[in-house]
Every structure is written in C-alpha cells, then in structure tokens.
Amino acid sequence: MLEQLPALILLAPLFGALLIGLIGLHDRRACFPIAFTALIISLASAIGAAMRAFTGGAYNYFIGGWEEPLGIGIVLRVDALNGLLLIAIAVVAVLAVIFTIRPSSEKDTDKTAYFYILFLLLCVGLFGITITGDAFNLFVLIEVSALTSYGLVAIGTSRRCKMAAFHYLLMGTVGASFYLLGVGYLYLKTGSLNMQDINTILTTNATVAQSPAIVTAFILILVGIWIKMAFFPLYGWLPNAYSYSPSGSSCLLAPLMTKVSVYVMIRVMLSLFGLEWVFGHPGWSDLVVWLAVIAILAGSIMALAQREIKRMLCYLIVAEIGYMVGGAWLNDPNLWGLTGASYHILADAMMTLCLFLFAGILFKYHGVSEIGDLGGMFKKMPITSIGFIVGALAMIGVPPTCGFFSKFYLIRGGIEGGHPEYVAALLISSLVNAVLFFRIFEIAYFGKNPAAGHSHDHGHDDHDSHDHDDPGDAVTTAARPMREAPVYALIPLLAAAALIILVGIFNGQIIELIRLTFEIPATVVSNLR
C-alpha cells in the first residue's frame, strides 16, 4: 500500500470532488466534510510519499505499470524538492478549506457544491503538476488547475470579477499554449515526452542540445510559465484576478498558483534541460536577473500605491515572484540562489496564505477592504492581529520567520553569483515592505475606528466581491462591529503563522533536503551549518 501513496495524493481530492458531484448537490452540508476528509488523506499521503523520498532518494511511480522502455507510459516522480512542495500544497489546501466554513447564520446557496468541486479539482491539478515526470502531462494538469481557477475567480458576485476572470483566462490560455508548443518542439527533436528521457538525450547528444529548435523550445516554455506565474512584464492579470475573487478562493489561489508555476520553472531548468544547458548560454542569466530586479522594484513600488489590502498583497506577490525567478537564475557556483528560491516557494506559500487569510477575515466578517479602515484593530481583534503581525514580519524578513532565511540564502546567492543589483533590489524591497506594513501597524494601533458607514456609504458596487456564496448581503450591512472572527477562521490564520515560524526555525533541515535534489558536491552541503 505504501508504494501507492504518490497516486493517492491526487486520487483523494479527485474522488472527493466526484462524490460532491454525486451527493453534494442534493445535500450541501455534505460538501465541507467530504472536502476536508479528502484533503486530510492527501496531506497524510503527501507526507508519506515525501518521507520515502527524503530517506531513500528520488523514486518513480509508473502509472499503468509501463516501465520499459522508459517514456511509453506516464511517470510520477517524487524527490525531496517536490516532496516538500506536496506537503506545503496539502497544508495550504487544508487550512484554506477550513477557512471556507461559513457562519451557521448564512445559508448555503446553489453555488456551494460547485465551489467545493472546483476547489478540490484545483488541488488535484496542483498536486499533479508538482508530482508528474512527464512534460505533456504537466500541460494537462496546468489546464486542470487553470480552468478551475477561472471558475473560482468568477464564482463571486462582484461585477468586476467576471472581467478579471476573462483576462485571466486569455492570459492563462496563451501561457499554457506556449508551454504546449515548447513541449512540441522538444518532442520534435527528441521523440520523447518523459522528462528524464529528454534530459538524457539533451545531455548526451550535443547536436540535438544545441539546435535552434531546442533553444526555441526553452524560450517558449519559459515565456509560457512566466505568463502563468505573472512575472513582471506579464503580470497584468494577477492583481484583478486575485483581488476581485471571493476570499475563499483567493486564499487557495494566491498562495499556490504562482508558487507552483515557479516550481515548474525550476523543475524545467533542473530536470528537463539541466542546469548546465541552461547556464551554458552566456547572457541569459544576467538578462533574467535584471528582469527580476525590475519585477521586484516595480512590484514593491506599485504595492506602495495601493489603498486596498488585497491589491497591495497582489503587487507584493509580483515582487516575490521576482525574488524567486531572480534567485533561480543567479547561477552562483554553489547554487545558493536556486536553493533560496526553492525554499522561498515554501516560505512564500505560507506567508501569502497567512496574509490572504487575514485579508479574507477582514473582508468576510467585517466588510473591511481598505487599509485606512483598520483603525483600532489591534485592540479589538488581538488574536487576528497576532497572525497578521507574524505574516507581515515574515514579509519584511525579520528573524526567526521564514522570510528572513529565504532572503538570507537569496542574498548569499546574489553575492556569490556576482549580482549586486539583485541584492540591492532585495534589500530595497524589504525596506518597502517594512514601510508598507509599519504603516498598517500604525493605523491599526493608533488609528481610531472609522465612523460607521465611512467606507460604505458610497455605493458598494466596487467591492462587493464578497464571499462566493452570500449574494450581496455582507457589505450592505456595513461597518459591522470589529471583533474577533469565529474560531474556524482563526485556526487557519494562527496555524499559518505558526508554520511561518516553524519553517523559519527548521530552515537548516529544509535547505538540506532541497539540496539533495541538486547534486552538489558533498563538501558544500557539509559547510551548511
């Protein structure tokens, strides 16, 4: 049974979604328990599958038992890097699904079942992207996660979320199509779709590896993934899609979608083309790092200009994507940049989850969406505030949160790789984050609670992008008294905050696991501590 765990990670949420499709429409109370159970099973199997990879190294799971010759079937491959990410996805999904419990006073609507089906299928897609070892299968699962996320963005009652979802759809489809085209170019030159197989061909056969078609394939795949992850010039869809989507959706989408795309980029560089091939092209590394620098600075500056919490967080995501892409492309001799980027995927998933949960709590239970309305929050909602403070400190990069350590490794990579501009951008961005969050701290600590109806007396059409299933009520009951959110909203927030600190404290072990996948000389690993 243990060797079936890699398949079980995906199958549990898949069957959960199908069960909801069968019975959830008739009895909506069944939706949440099914979803929660399915994700818990996923989490357990992800931990099991990852532990095997941590102790025994990477291993394959051959779907359908098609092992020989390599590449005729589809392979799931678990190694330490994606093992960690699988656990992170499962944790985020479990916490986000707890957050979707609604107060018993609100009644279910007919969209509840669809929401949970899409939620679970999105998890299936993300797990699948992470675990697969087949280049084309990756495309199919990207589309599973993409279509579900369009639905999750558009499920809200806001007038603007449909338009945001439409732009997201156009960009997402173009990104996925570029990826597909890149895989086609690879297939044309290598005759294989299996990542290991392609990698072997590219490393052993120099004429194939240096042909223009392969270079084009890499560029196409890279641009496709960049569109999916909202890397700087291609980020246009992200802020609208995430800030106008309902809270329940954005708590799952924001922490995971972009991070998984970054993982795909690292996986493509690492396992599909190989780092030697990628960095064998002079100039690419510098170019991408400069793009990342622009992304970091632009994201931070645009975040400064925002009044709404969610939009500010969205632009911070754009900056964080810059951290990770830049880190992965630093090309420093000991691969600290790549290590830091991989670690930052986990760290950023937790930080983004924490902050989006915070924004979700404010919006869902208090109808607050603007920074200016946070006055007096620390006194009235002390527990929520603790979660928020931890998340904010992690974003700024204060030890012992994980944000500090990821920046530490990224900066180390930047220095060793000779990219002072990247280091400078990271520091500036941390400074901007500090300004941003201390401004919020100040308002929340010293500011007065705004007069009733202050933010809502002027047409709420703009931010009625409320919850997926309370059509139109919440914001109209403006200025609900600020008090602690219910327990089931606080649990995920505090758990995310705790995870931020735990991931920070155990950074040594996590880094060691990540570096297992990189094949670095043993001496470097031993210098770690």
Partner: protein
C-alpha cells in the same frame, strides 16, 4: 501605445522566434525524424514501440486508442477531468436558481416536439434523427478499438443528439429527457468509472491504471484482453462525462443559467 502597435510588435517577435526554431526542423513527412523514429544514434522513439509492440500487448489495432486509453491513460483521465472542471466552472459562473419562480416547472406544459402541430415536420424529423444519431454514437464509442472513434467523439455525438432536441423543440423538451440531476450525476459517474478502472488494480496490488491485472475480475484469457476490455470501459466513462457536460454547457449557455425557455 495603442493595442494594434503593441500587437504587431508582439506578433513580429514571436513569429521570428518561431521561424528561427523551424529553420532546423526535419523535412515535413520524413519518417526518419526524431519524433517518428528516435534520435539518431539513440534509442528508437516511443512511437515506434507503439506501432510495433502495442498490438501484441493490448490487442487493440487502433494505436491511437491504445495509446490514449492505456499507455497515456492518466493523461486522458485528466482530460476528462478538464471537461468536468469546465462544466463546473460554467455552472459556477452562470447557474442561478434564486431569481426565477420555480412554480412553473412541471409536466403540464406541452412541449413543442411532443405533439405541436405547427412543428410537425421539424418534430418528426428530430424524432427520427435522434435515435439514429445516438445509435451511431454508441457505435463510435464501441468501435474505437478498430477504427477512428472513441469516448470523446461518441460522447460529443450523444450530447449533440440532446442538443438537437433542444434546437428542434425547446430547452424543456431536452431537459425533460435529460434533467439537470441526471447530467450532474452522469458527469461525475463517468470519471468515477474511469478512475475506478484505475483504483481496482491498486487494490489488487498493482499500480494505478494497470489494466492487465484486471483479468482476474474480467475473466479474460491473458492480460492483453483485459487491457482491451478495460479500454472499452474507460471509453464508456469518458463518453458519459463528455455527453453530460456538452449538453449541460449548451443548456446553461443558451438560457443564461436559468435552464428555462432558452434560445
């Protein structure tokens, strides 16, 4: 910058990159290209394996079917999941039951292809055509092993037959024959059938979707025929899901999610 200029620049850059990649493609139609027969000096490509070996292992002469439903069956399962996800996304976007009065529902109203004399020709033609379309669709599903066809194609035809009813009469006609409850249930059921064919081998101690081991249950002689029969099973699952979702998408799009009147 106006979108047209921006578009032109994007198109020119992308086009140049793509044409640069094409410059060293193998000649069109070359049977010795890497995709068709493997990298020079390397192992033969998987497509040669499929052409030469797959019949012996799966007993399915249509290579596309055997690759689709068995070797790359995992892809195909998620392809079906994509269809389901699209359906669910569309329902999530469009479906609304709250605004309209539910009371008018019920069999009282005579629908137009069922005995409306003003539409007698359309109604009769539709009545004659639908069974033929459906029978042919079932043939396409079942004959996918031996000729072009399979679950997706057959499923789309089955869905089209219900859409024909809706087009010839009205949406109520079609929904009376294929209600929302049944299409939701069938859509999930289709993937449950597919994934069930994957999970049963896991219970029997093999990997997911390893159809060969099903010979113990399907009582075939040898794993090859078990694979062949299982492929038919998963194609039926695919057809169910595709049929339900195709019709459901039509029903929701044509009535803006109210499932009333329509068109």
């Amino acid at each position: 910058m106006s979108p047209k200029i921006f578009a032109s620049i994007a198109v020119v850059i992308t086009g140049i990159v793509l044409l640069y990649g094409i410059s060293d493609f193998p000649t069109f139609g070359d049977p010795r290209s890497p995709a068709n027969s493997g990298v020079e000096g390397g192992a033969p490509s998987t497509s040669l394996y499929y052409i030469n070996e797959s019949y012996g292992v799966t007993k399915v002469p249509n290579l596309v079917t055997s690759v689709l439903a068995d070797y790359r069956g995992y892809d195909t399962m998620f392809e079906t999941v994509v269809v389901l996800a699209a359906g669910m996304a569309i329902f999530a976007i469009l479906r609304s039951t709250t605004k309209d009065d539910e009371t008018v529902a019920g069999p009282a109203r005579k629908s137009s292809i069922d005995g409306d004399h003003n539409r007698i020709i359309v109604g009769m033609t539709c009545r004659l055509a639908v069974p033929v379309v459906q029978i042919f669709a079932l043939y396409v599903v079942a004959h996918g092993h031996y000729s072009p066809g399979g679950g997706f194609q057959g499923g789309v035809m089955l869905g089209a037959s219900f859409i024909l009813i809706a087009l010839a009469g009205n949406l109520d006609d079609a929904l009376g024959r294929f209600s929302e409850k049944s299409y939701m249930a069938l859509a999930s059921l289709g993937i449950i059938i597919y994934a069930g064919f994957g999970v049963v081998p896991q219970v029997l101690g093999k990997n997911f979707l390893d159809f060969g081991v099903l010979q113990k249950i399907l009582l075939t002689d040898g794993p090859e025929m078990a694979r062949s029969h299982s492929m038919l099973g998963v194609e039926i699952g695919v057809a169910l899901t595709v049929m339900s979702i195709m019709f459901a998408i039509f029903a929701n799009l044509s009535s803006r999610g109210t499932l009333k009147g329509g068109l």
